[in-house]
Assembly symmetry: none
Homo-oligomer: 219 residues x 4
DNA sequence: TCATAAACGAGACGGTACGTCGAGTCTTCGG
DNA sequence: CCGAAGACTCGACGTACCGTCTCGTTTATGA
């Protein structure tokens, strides 16, 4: 779930992960998220995180290669905690619970899309999310990690639910579920990114309606 | 077309735009774009741009408030040049030509979507575009400017073409053309951003197909 | 007189000395000397000097290669000022005034040796002098500079005065004036260095007596 | 002979000296001397010594308060070994053997002064000696220890030999033997320190000649 | 047509943060 | 149960850029 695997990834001496201070790790995550929320990503410095966490700078550089990596880990940790709190921690600990399948495709998707909207609007997530997205846009390696750890798992849930729907005959047999998933999520992300129009439940519902219309089986 | 309007916007003494050196302006744009392409946005510095352009640092700070603003202007300038080269410089110089209306909605949209794909895949645009998007994600003011100057005009073209189609009866009268426009462009942007799947003409066509199916008038 | 000649000595870009801020230079000297006196050399940091002088660290590193070099310059400056204050600024500005020649060798030497004792006992000079001597002991290049700029000129004065005395027949014609000069100064320096016995005028006089006895012309 | 007496000197828990590893002690001395000789005092670090000695850092800090103290001990140990090798280890283990008294004062002094010159020129001793002297110059406590343990015993030998000579009538009865001792040793130390002129047997002989001339009894 | 005021190149300045190094302390584990 | 190993906090290092501020040097009107 985490990214701090310097085992073989980074050059130089490899620190002994078994001796790592969990106390410091937590403090660093808390400090990083707090600072990004309070002052924005650009003004958040490694030095600041260390000071706020009551930790030596070296303890950060020992375990992460960059500010962005710290934040990604902190964010993943946050997400993991959230899932755990939901009592839905299933399977291999990968966390996310998937999309419910009540038999009513529209209702199920509406539920998760609205949840996504709420999350994107939550200031607690907004700052860090923007920071990560920005970093991922600009640095390919980091972006690859984000896509793999955050984005694709998310899309996979949609794909699975849509596949189930296709088997149930709820959507056209020739529909491309991957594309359908992207049609559902991308517009929300774009509104969030552009910031010029409100990102609301109503908007999510409208997107859903249009997409489902295109997926419905022909008579 | 450009953003350098310190006339009333910035505090302090206003430089006399009429005496501005066009030579320096061009050199700064070229240097900025080159450096972003070559070394990435993060490693591009104002000092570096100035050195490469053979220009004093102050000449940059005199006309732009930040590295991002320079790049945005450089990018807009690049786009303007591209449009001019196409011989389509119409109207007030806003440049973009809009979406052709041949009567065949699918064909028209396919054309522009494919062009968008090509542009996103062009390394000349990729670096600066990512840099700008990243900056916009993280700094609201800058993002607002980007949305207003780059994104919304783009979406507006889709909206206009789709409205025309609706009047022609090519799509359902109750379709929300704004949402339709977002459904068309957002998935492409997302693929470009995620970087884990190829962004191809075929993909654009598939997205188009799915969206149009949802828009088609009911019999 | 000063050491800051990066013209050809240091690698990288050479700063333009003509644009140098005299204000900063003075502030750095003052801060450096004050800190060394107050807290000792080891606890004096470049960062501390910069802060105390109200100067950016880079402004120090731009002009000096190390803490020790700053201090050497500060010290030379101090000495130059002292000489200037004495109204004895003669010749090429090298400052030092030489040893008086009243015709009475013993009296002349006693005068300067006692002055040296006073200087070594002056807390204002003690700290910086020890710091410089320590640095010179350990780093050959720096030591060479010190010897050349501080020590040898000093010895040269004694040598000149002794040569005059030899010509006057005040000391044996076969006496080695260089060695005599070293015999006069080295014991004082050693007492100062060892710190376990007081360095007094009486001591200087006693050394002088013994040395002169060895130099006196045989009857 | 050694300095490691944390018994009452240092705060905190006193380690049990009886269980101390002689193996580690030796390894630390060897490593310290080797590193100082090879890379200089400033670049020698406690971490480096520990690594080279195959010893934990704590094992050094348990027994010595500072890098300089380690080196002083190592140096004293080296000197003790040298004396032992000469088979002259007499008395309380203080080591040094004193100056021979063959009846020929000049010859005896020449012998030890030349030996001193050789020692100062020996690269094995040069590095550590400079390091210790530098530290002693700058930190009074350490300097006091050095003076007491290294310098004064040395001078005492000269004083004793000169007193014997005075009793034998070889030098003037009113000569100050302490000052004479300093006149003999200080110039050598100074040449070694200044490094700009060769420190040779001839130089030692010349110093000796001048000093003895001053000491000789008046006819 | 030239005087003069501006924009310009250059780059030193006071700062902030970087990423690294070592000091000295504290904890864990193996012989 | 000592000692190697090494992670920890702390603080300074020397570097890179930031954005501001002079410096002469063009340059391009407008008197």
């Amino acid at each position: 779930m985490t990214t701090d695997k310097p085992d073989a990834a980074r050059p130089g001496k490899t620190p002994d992960a078994s001796r790592r201070s969990e106390r410091s790790r937590r403090a660093i995550f808390d400090a990083a998220l707090a600072l990004v929320s309070e002052t924005g990503y650009a003004k958040t410095t490694v030095e600041g995180i260390a000071a706020r966490a009551g930790v030596g700078k070296q303890t950060i550089y020992r375990w992460w290669p960059s500010k962005a990596a710290v934040l990604l880990d902190a964010f993943l940790d946050l997400a993991a905690q959230a899932n755990e709190a939901l009592g839905r921690d299933v399977g291999d600990g990968e966390g996310d619970a998937g999309i419910p399948d009540t038999g009513d495709l529209a209702a199920d998707l509406r539920y998760v899309l609205r949840a996504t909207v709420d999350e994107l609007n939550d200031p607690k997530y907004d700052g860090p999310t923007r920071a990560l997205a920005a970093e991922g846009l600009v640095s390919p390696d980091f972006g690859a990690q984000m896509t793999e750890l955050l984005m694709e798992p998310q899309l996979a849930h949609y794909v699975r639910r849509l596949e189930a729907a296709r088997e149930d005959g709820d959507i056209a047999p020739d529909a491309d579920v991957r594309i359908a998933a992207e049609l559902l999520t991308a517009p929300l992300a774009q509104r969030w990114q552009y910031r010029d129009r409100p990102l609301t439940h109503a908007y999510a519902d409208a997107v859903l309606t249009h997409v489902l219309r295109g997926l419905s089986p022909r008579p």
